[in-house]
Symmetry: C2
Subunit: 237 residues, 2 copies
């Protein structure tokens, strides 16, 4: 058995990027079909509905992380994520923007909020993120958020794809993605700084890589669930 060795910062960051390149959901068959432009409106609607549940749990898992972070400065920075998602009382947040994305795809607000339409696989995958943040150390919970390192590239591509292949979606509905393009780099930069400063031995580095793999698998499973729902809908219609 190979003994764990402490990676240099460069080796460690390279490993995190490798995990993203190999396991992030940009390679999932559903995303590949989405970006080829071959999804039907019905399939995109299943995606937007199921993915909404993920949006709703983000402030919950972020508040759990805030409750575990070691000091005021890091709590203050992490709280921005909750406000970004819930809104600050003046501007609407990510949850509301995602509802508008759904509306731009002709999914009514009430349908978006109807948990009975949520697939069981998608629900399990998303719930496991809250459980992970509750049960693990803040270092692991923060590390799980590092998929955001890979989000801007995927979102940038997606905005192009939506305009080109899915022009039936109202352009103003894409506000969510515009906003995330600004927020994700700021958030992942903070998370990476925290991880690099606090994963100071080989064991902690390994826990960080496991956490990032776990999160990639979770996003992958969410799309597996969405695919399953799409197949079921096709069979039954």
């Amino acid at each position: 058995m190979k003994v764990d060795q402490l990676l240099t910062e460069k080796q460690f960051v390279d490993e995190l990027n490798d995990i993203g390149e190999q396991l992030y959901h940009h390679k999932h068959p559903f995303h590949i079909r989405m970006h080829e432009g071959s999804l039907t409106p019905g399939q995109l609607r299943i995606w937007v509905r199921n993915r909404f549940y993920y949006q709703t749990i983000l402030p919950i898992k972020d508040a759990i992380i805030v409750s575990k972070l070691p000091d005021s400065e890091n709590r203050r920075q992490w709280i921005r994520r909750i406000i970004d998602q819930d809104g600050d009382g003046v501007s609407s947040g990510g949850i509301e923007s995602w509802i508008r994305l759904g509306e731009g795809m002709a999914v009514a607000r009430a349908e978006m909020l109807d948990v009975r339409l949520l697939g069981a696989v998608a629900k399990d995958a998303v719930d496991s993120y809250v459980d992970f943040c509750r049960e693990r150390s803040w270092l692991e919970a923060v590390a799980a958020s590092l998929t955001e390192l890979f989000a801007p590239k995927l979102i940038t591509d997606r905005m192009e794809v939506f305009k080109r292949h899915y022009a039936w979606i109202q352009p103003q509905a894409l506000e969510y993605f515009f906003t995330r393009l600004k927020q994700a780099p700021r958030d992942s930069e903070h998370a990476l700084r925290l991880v690099l400063a606090n994963a100071t031995n080989a064991n902690e580095q390994r826990l960080v890589t496991y956490a990032l793999r776990f999160k990639c698998r979770l996003l992958w499973r969410l799309l597996d669930g969405i695919e399953e729902d799409c197949r079921r809908e096709t069979e039954y219609i």
Copy 2:
């Protein structure tokens, strides 16, 4: 055994106020001596040091509550407490103001932050608040915060007392209390609204009253621990 009956809103609020009148720590012998002006500088320093630990856990228990609250609007309102305590990055928050209160009593910042000086009874009492919020429902955790209904009266009295009996404390060090006088009514008003809207049966009302009693006992135990430390210091000096 008397069967639980649903209280009217007025009866319920009266019961909460009765609990405060009977069990809140304004009646603790240590507070009575503080407000009579009979504490020594050394005893006030023990108080300010031990009570600092309580200040440090408030954002933690509040983030746990945020992670459990049912919607964006309530999370947004509760987050203000965390920012009030940690500071917003421009103005300093309650934790920093409490350190300055200690400095105004000639307790050095380093001494305040030194956990080895924290009494075991005080630590247990304070830690039990975090555990309570983690393990119980959000309704009970929110109800435990309702001691803030009784705080403004005590703080108003204390500011008078400090100026009259403890003039050796630098007046600018009392900033913490000025700020709490503004924050506590806003916070307790939100918490009370949440509790009244969500304790809709006799069992929930009872859980709320138990939570408030628990919190009163916790504050009482904290002062018990402080008194014990004061006695020990006197014996050993």
